[in-house]
C-alpha cells in the first residue's frame, strides 16, 4: 500500500540554523500539507500546497517557513532560522485531487532545536 515517507526521522540542530524537512507524498496525490505537533499538544496545521503554490497557511507559518516542490516527487519544509520553540514533530500529509478530503500522513520528523 502506498505511503507518505519523511526524512530524516530525527534532526537535532542549533538555534539559528536552517533546516529542511523532506517528504515524498503518495505518487498520484496532488494536495500536500505540513503540520506540527509540539510534545503533548494538538496537531497544528501549517500550510497546504496545490499546483505549485500555497493554497492556505496558518498564523504559525510566518516568514521563517517556506515550502517547495523541487521535483516531481519531493515536498520540502524549510525553517530559515530555527528557534527553541520550533522543536516538535513535523508531519507531512497528502491527498488525491478527487475522491474527498482524506489526508494521509507520514511518520513524521522529530526536530529538536538546542
Amino acid at each position: 500500500e502506498p505511503e507518505v515517507t519523511q526524512t530524516p526521522s530525527h534532526q537535532v540542530t542549533q538555534m539559528g540554523q536552517e533546516v529542511i524537512l523532506r517528504c515524498v507524498p503518495i505518487s498520484n496525490h496532488l494536495y500536500f500539507y505540513w503540520y506540527r505537533q509540539i510534545l503533548g499538544q494538538k496537531v497544528e496545521f501549517l500550510v497546504s500546497f496545490y499546483n505549485n503554490e500555497i493554497s492556505e497557511k496558518s498564523e504559525i507559518f510566518d516568514d521563517q517557513f517556506s515550502v517547495e516542490r523541487p521535483d516531481g516527487s519531493n515536498f520540502t519544509l524549510k525553517i530559515r532560522s530555527t528557534k527553541l520553540e520550533d522543536s516538535a514533530m513535523y508531519f507531512c500529509a497528502s491527498r488525491p485531487s478527487g475522491g474527498g478530503e482524506t489526508q494521509y500522513f507520514g511518520p513524521g520528523t522529530r526536530l529538536l532545536v538546542l
Binding site: 503540520y35 494538538k42 496545521f45 497546504s48 514533530m89 482524506t102 500522513f105
Partner: protein, 109 residues
C-alpha cells in the same frame, strides 16, 4: 471561531468493555470530519472520513457517526491493541484542517 473539542481526555477500559469517544465541532462550512489513530511517536493513521449528518462508517471494532454538531467513535469489545490516542479533525470551508486534542484510550487485558 472554528473549534474541535474531544472528550474525554483519557479513557480507561477493560478488555471487552464497549464505550464511545466524543468530538464536538464548531466549524464554518464543514467539508469533512476525520478520525485518526495515533500511536506514541508515530504519524496519525487514517480511520474514517464522514461528510454529512447521519453518515456512519465501520471498520472492525470501530464505528464512527456524525451529527450536525458532533461525531462519535464507538468502540465495541475493545482489545489491548486498541490502546492509542484517537484524533478527530475537521476541514473547514476555508480548507483549513483543525484537530482536536485527542482522547487517550487505555484498554487493559
Amino acid at each position: 471561531e472554528d473549534q474541535v473539542t474531544q472528550s474525554p481526555e483519557a479513557l480507561r477500559l477493560q478488555e471487552g468493555e464497549s464505550s464511545s469517544l466524543n468530538c464536538s465541532y464548531t466549524v464554518s462550512g464543514l467539508r469533512g470530519l476525520f478520525w485518526y489513530r495515533q500511536d506514541p511517536g508515530k504519524g496519525p493513521e487514517f480511520l474514517f472520513t464522514l461528510y454529512s449528518a447521519g453518515e456512519e462508517k465501520e471498520k472492525e471494532r470501530l464505528k464512527a457517526t456524525l451529527t450536525k454538531k458532533e461525531s462519535f467513535l464507538h468502540i465495541t469489545a475493545p482489545k489491548p491493541e486498541d490502546s492509542a490516542t484517537y484524533l478527530c479533525a475537521a476541514v473547514t470551508g476555508g480548507f483549513k484542517t483543525i484537530f482536536g486534542a485527542g482522547t487517550r484510550l487505555f484498554v487493559k487485558a
